[in-house]
Amino acid sequence: MRRNTGRLLRGIALLSAVALGATACGGSDDDSTGEAVSASDVQAALEKGGTVTVWSWEPTLKSVAADFQKKYPKVKINLVSERSGDKHYTALSNAMSAEKGVPDVAQIEYFAVNQYALGKGLTDLASFGADKLADKYTPGPWNAVTQDKAVYGLPMDSGPMAMFYNKRIFDKYDIAVPATWDEYVDAARKLHKADPKVYIANDAGDAGFTTSMLWQAGSRPYKVDGTNVKIDFSDAKAKQYTDTWQKLIDEKLVAPVNGWTDEWYKGLGDGTIATLTTGAWMPANFVSGVPNAAGDWRAAPMPVWAKGDKSSAENGGSSLTLPALGKNKELAYAFVEYANSGEGVGTRVGEGAFPATKAELQSADFQSTKFEYLGGQEANKIFAESAANVASDWSYLPFQQYANSIFNDTVGKAYVSGTTLADGLKTWQDASVKYAEEQGFTVEK
């Protein structure tokens, strides 16, 4: 239940324009779908009109849908936004297997796109010319929605990672902001020594965070090629992560608090959780969830594994897809394209969404946006830099949703017992392999 709330909040993360004082960026150029055939088909469909059902909890889509309907008065966008996260996927999977009530457009988070694409549940948008849009998007999100030449959705937002830190606490104990993970461990020790109530971070086992950390470290535990998968957490880069993080766990330097709980918000507010390494969508959540700490927090680049290295990773983010069983494909694509590549992007960024499109990320307006909550910091510069440094060859499992659901059963043991993180990852690997085999995948050992 709470998990859904967390997801929901993460989704809502992107709402917040006014509070952030973000200024709307100039809308991108008037897009054409590129392909002569498709474009005219789409145009004809738009003139003919119809209804498009969209399942998405992205709050900024409301304005986009209104604008779209204004532009094409014959088209009606039926936005269904009550469900998010797990509930959303359950409903979507149910509709797909019942072959009834499938929406024309569905929001799917990056980690789950593979899963739906594999089940032949999604339309390949390359036939609409979506493959030509590759250069518009930053590499992480684009990679997440494509497989070989197929394009299964258009990126809606992204979560390049950054480290948020509580400047008040760091200043109070005169600790330098860590730039590498080794410095991070040192800072954790100093902070906790200075005040035993203060932890450098909260971590009670979060699949999304751990996979993002592995991503940044350069580990590639998942290799997916159609129905062949390889799951292996034993590479040197993964070890680099587990060795370092194990120190934090062993020395009890991370607070055993789960994200999106009351304890978590309190910890972020009163300074007992001093840093938070997460996606660039976080500021909006700070504003809504931790209003009492306004001005305390700042953004900094995510710590790296070696000085001079700039690698980053993504955390969160979603795309809009066209379920294969949806109707009105031309209209649906027109809407998705409008929202995630066309004029809609400007509207959504104006309302606080963190874009996945290069043009918006690089625009001067966007980069110079001052975050009042972060003490007037121009944090988007850091986020955009991070987005440019996300390694693009990461892939999630075609059943990541399930794998994440058993993360705490396996890796979670490392947080509450003598099991090590590395052993926990091995157990996670074994359980994932077992599921993969049960589900008919060919698992490479």
Binding site: G205, N258, T261, S405, N408, E438, G440
Partner: protein, 308 residues
């Protein structure tokens, strides 16, 4: 009212015998029909459908295939399922006797007539049952918090370090505490109402024979409410085996302790909604249902035999 008027009352008499027989048989169905329809729809159909589901396997790669009893074979070898069953069995053996014992004590105390402010106690003990399980669990979850909850406050105020109630070792006991708190009142009420119907003459006879209170309890009260005890035990067995709400709601606070296979019901839920393993989930549910039925039936047989 109109049916009482002569024309209507004489109506059937004018009808030919054959038609009357027809009408009679249909009337019977008319009474039982709504029940049969609802019973079939909400009780039989889901069970039949679950059994049907349990004979198939749906894979992400390869789709749905008929596998006969393979799922059952898998379930019997499934460590996660047996571990979950073991956990609720332990829960059953420890929590249920404690809960029923407290409930019985409370009921006897209320019935003794020596308690001042009887209705106040009765309503106070019963009150937790009126709190929805979800709310109760959230409330207890907050109290269990070692950072900002009651446990944390006690630690801070007295300078002690209480063990974390949500740690893997203690979380089952913590759930037991919540369930006991919730259901003592409910069970007490069952016992109390059974005690109230014992005829007064038995007590008078006991008094004449010079029996003490303890003797009255063991010789009159307990035998008289044996039926109620058996019923409460069966309810508690079913409740223990179906444990789901409490672990599900506490889970965000203790993800590492409350695994997705913590109780059999939670396991079927996870199989179905996280793993899309609906078929296997149905299998586990059916096996669990059968086990519950068998144990509840055995308890009923034994309980009743003693009573006879």
């Amino acid at each position: 009212m109109t049916t009482l008027q002569p024309p209507a009352a004489t109506g059937p008499r004018q009808a030919p015998p054959a038609a009357r027989r027809d009408r009679r048989s249909w009337t019977g169905w008319g009474f039982i029909g709504p029940f049969v329809a609802v019973f079939a729809l909400v009780f039989l159909a889901p069970i039949v459908y679950s059994i049907y589901l349990s004979l198939f396997r749906d894979q992400l790669i390869g789709g749905t295939t008929f596998v006969g009893l393979d799922n059952y074979q898998q379930a019997f070898q499934d460590e996660r399922f047996w571990a979950a069953l073991g956990r609720v069995t332990l829960f059953l053996c420890v929590q249920v006797p404690i809960m029923l014992g407290i409930a019985l004590l409370a009921a006897l105390a209320l019935d003794s007539g020596r308690l001042y402010g009887k209705s106040f106690f009765r309503i106070t003990i019963f009150l937790p049952y009126a709190v929805p399980a979800v709310v109760a669990t959230l409330m207890w979850g907050f109290m269990y918090g070692t950072k900002y909850g009651l446990v944390g406050d006690i630690n801070g105020a007295f300078g002690v370090t209480l063990p974390d109630p949500l740690s893997p070792d203690l979380v089952l006991a913590s759930i037991g505490n919540i369930v006991t708190w919730e259901f003592v009142g409910y069970n007490m009420l069952i016992f109390y109402s059974a005690l109230r119907v014992i005829p007064n003459s038995l007590y008078e006879a006991a008094e004449i024979d010079g029996a003490g209170q303890l003797r009255v309890i063991t010789a009159i009260k307990l035998p008289a409410i044996r039926g109620a005890l058996v019923i409460a035990t069966i309810f508690s067995i079913i409740g223990s085996f179906q444990l789901f709400n409490e672990p599900n709601i506490l889970r965000p606070l203790a993800r590492n302790a409350l695994t997705t296979d913590y109780t059999p019901n939670f396991y079927t839920y996870s199989l179905s909604f996280n793993g899309q393993q609906h078929n296997y989930s149905a299998t586990v549910a059916i096996i669990m249902g059968l086990i519950t039925m068998v144990i509840a039936y055995v308890v009923q047989l034994r309980g009743m035999r003693k009573g006879a």
